[in-house]
Amino acid sequence: MRRRTFVAAGISAVAAGTSISCGGNQAGWRFFTAEEARAVDAICEQIIPAGPHPGAHDARVVNYIDIQLTRHFRKHQETYRRGIAGVEAAGRKKFGRRFVELSPEQQVEILSDAEEKSKAFFELILAHTRQGFYGDPRHGGNHNMVSWKMLGLPSPPIRGRERSVWPGFFCPA
């Protein structure tokens, strides 16, 4: 039951996340504002960019991070809020624009600075981007198993489960 609610919520968040143009927080993100989500999406895409194979945006890594920030990563909420603001401020100061409006080269420059000066935030988003890209799709990222396909991993084989721990022995779940 819990899993079902979770999956359904995940799907609606993805749906909201893909129509990334509207303002405010009506977009349905759990933690991010729509602005923040756009910035995080762009940051993740620089960490794992699309090329011949899909990148972090296609894998919906921002969705993974948004979901986990209200679950297992609750303790990182403040680091994200400040970190994103820091990246935005750096972009404005250096190039006079929002992060999402910068050229790819400018974005890389801002993130390289963040890697030096905003270590806590950068290390978090680096790790979380890898998780959201290479990890299990059930957590909201790795959409369509794009990374697993890139690595040539066969889809999960369907194999039978053993229900009891011992033949004829009932195991309390």
Binding site: L111, E115, A127, G135, D136, R138, R161, E162, R163
Partner: protein, 560 residues
């Protein structure tokens, strides 16, 4: 401690012969051996009883990769510890590094481990005699020898079921019977590493594993899936106490298991003998289970914590701690790892991955007090591969992604558990302030690795690198351990076994020197921890200690 956990009198529970705290490797075997001998047994476990159906194949949340929490406990809400590093004290949670977690569930570590099942070597029980004193280390001989344990290694191998082929391991200690099951067919990594080892004059062989490779004991064979170490085994082919000795214990009719029960302290009577344990049950009620014998099998960290939490006017520093040795000598294994990049694909998507090992460097290394075995690493899920990207690759951007894409299927890692030099200062204490959800003082971990352990790790890394290069690796890179405290799943040493009550906690029968009806049966009693995964030694020693306990038992028996 006293008086916590509610002000009511619980319904008295039926008195039993033995209460065992912890249903892991040691406790599981003890439950079966005692119950089979006709003793009435209660087996308490703080975690849950998971089954094969709990294999969620979740590569971000399992017992090995815990970025979204661990798979089989303990949970991150109720179980803090304190980690001391220099002057810094941090509250750490089970899924975080530094916690030194081992699973909390029926089966303990054996529920989700990789299942390597090694016999230690003869020298591993006589480290002090073999190498002499190592300055700064409490290196010591075990009070028992390999020969004392050999029959019980064999019993564990045949009763629980071990596969593999150690015939080509010329360094192995004498054994009477072969392993009951053959190894799995060689994986691609195995085929690459085997001839290379032979060309180097080494002696490669198939890793022994508590894993069915053919149907055995009513369970089927390994289907070689990707979700092995860290996960529940979906086919129940991997063997732990949860699917062997614990069901067998229950089947005797003499043993009851109670899960989600957190033991608070070992209770003592006025004369300083134990009368049972106090625990908080799944519903949050404080219970007293009285028993003739108490067996502490919580794993090295939690066993020490339970003893230290069991204070008494005769034992103000905690049970078994008259000379201050409880919690000391916390050790595990130090793992140097080397990864090689190959021209051709080495990944074949077949679990469990680890399959080939050498024992050429366990002992006899010039200038070093020991060593360890070397083996190839378990199968790697994509996120785990992040930890294997070499340091010269950019950490983010196209270069990193391209490396992962190119290298994922073309790497082999070789690593090995270096036998550690025990440190008196590497220890488990009680934290004076922090308490867990149940109000029980938590473990406070402090100390570091011995510098010589790191010397040995560097030597082992060189050997692993040479093996990979001979196998054709175009590039190799190392991941070296740091000096921080060792613990984790291979945790050991905190309730040292010895003949001298002044320098050990339990005697050779695993009985507390201080209290004659309290035993510690887990890796806590290991004096040193071998250059091998410790599971089979914990199981064998549990069979041995249980047999001696039963033979000495003069009390009543139900029926056997």
């Amino acid at each position: 401690m006293s008086g916590q956990g509610g002000g009511f009198l619980p319904m008295p529970l039926k008195h039993v012969n033995a209460v065992i705290v912890g249903a892991g490797a040691g406790g599981g075997v003890a439950a079966k051996e005692l119950a089979s001998a006709g003793l009435s047994v209660v087996l308490l476990e703080r975690g849950k009883w998971y089954s094969a159906a709990d294999c969620r194949k979740d590569d971000l949340r399992n017992q090995r990769t815990t970025v979204l929490g661990n798979g089989f406990g303990p949970d991150d809400e109720r179980n803090p510890r304190v980690l001391v590093e220099g002057k810094r004290e941090t509250i750490v949670w089970p899924s975080e590094g530094g916690y030194s977690n081992n699973a909390a569930c029926v089966g303990g570590g054996t529920f989700s481990y990789g299942a390597q099942s090694w016999r230690y070597m003869e020298q591993d029980f006589r480290m002090r005699s073999t190498y002499g004193a190592v300055p700064g280390s409490t290196l010591e001989d075990w009070p028992i020898t390999y020969a004392d344990l050999e029959p019980y290694y064999e019993k564990a191998e045949w009763e629980m079921g071990v596969s593999g082929d150690v015939a080509n391991n010329i360094f192995k200690a004498p054994r009477k019977k072969p392993l009951p099951m053959p190894p799995l067919p060689p994986s691609r990594e195995h085929q690459v590493l085997l001839p290379a080892a032979k060309r180097l004059g080494l002696h490669p062989f198939d890793i022994p594993m508590l894993r069915n490779t053919v149907p055995y004991n009513g369970r089927r064979a390994c289907m070689r899936c990707r979700w092995c170490v860290g996960f529940a085994c979906e086919t129940n082919a991997r063997t732990g106490t949860h699917n062997t000795v614990i069901p067998a214990a229950l089947a005797t009719g003499n043993c009851a298991i109670r899960t989600e029960c957190m033991t608070r302290e070992v209770l003592l009577d006025g004369r300083g003998r134990s009368r049972g344990v106090a625990y908080i049950d799944a519903a949050g009620h404080l219970q007293e289970q009285t028993a003739d014998l108490v067996i502490v099998s919580c794993g090295a960290v939690e066993s020490a914590r339970l003893l230290l939490n069991s204070r008494h006017r005769l034992f103000p520093g905690g049970l078994g701690n008259r000379y201050g040795w409880v919690g000391r000598n916390l050790q595990s294994h130090t793992y140097p790892a080397v990864t090689g990049l190959f021209e051709t694909e080495t990944y074949d998507d077949l679990g469990p991955g680890a399959s080939i090992a050498i024992c050429d460097y366990n002992h006899g290394n010039p200038g070093l007090a020991g060593g360890g075995m070397l083996a190839n690493e378990f199968i790697r899920l994509p996120y785990q591969f992040m930890g294997q990207v070499p340091p010269w690759i950019a950490r983010w951007g196209a270069e990193h992604k391209e490396f992962v894409r190119n290298a994922y299927r073309r790497t082999i890692s070789v690593m090995g558990p270096v036998q550690e030099m025990p440190m008196f200062a590497a220890r488990v204490e009680l934290d004076p302030k922090v308490k867990d959800y149940w109000g029980i003082p938590v473990a406070r971990l402090s100390g570091s690795k011995h510098p010589h352990t790191l010397d040995i790790a560097r030597f082992m890394a060189e050997k692993a690198e040479a093996w990979l290069k001979e196998a054709g690796a175009a590039q190799t890179w190392r991941r070296m351990p740091g000096p921080s405290l060792s613990g984790g799943q291979h945790q050991a040493g905190t309730c040292r076994m010895g003949n001298d009550p002044k320098t050990s906690v339990v005697d050779r029968d695993c009985r507390l020197h201080d209290v004659d009806n309290v035993y510690v049966i887990d890796a806590g009693v290991h004096v040193t921890n071998g250059g091998f995964n410790p599971a089979l030694t914990i199981l064998a020693n549990a069979y041995r200690a249980s047999e001696r306990l039963v033979n000495a038992w003069k009390g009543s028996r139900a029926h056997s």
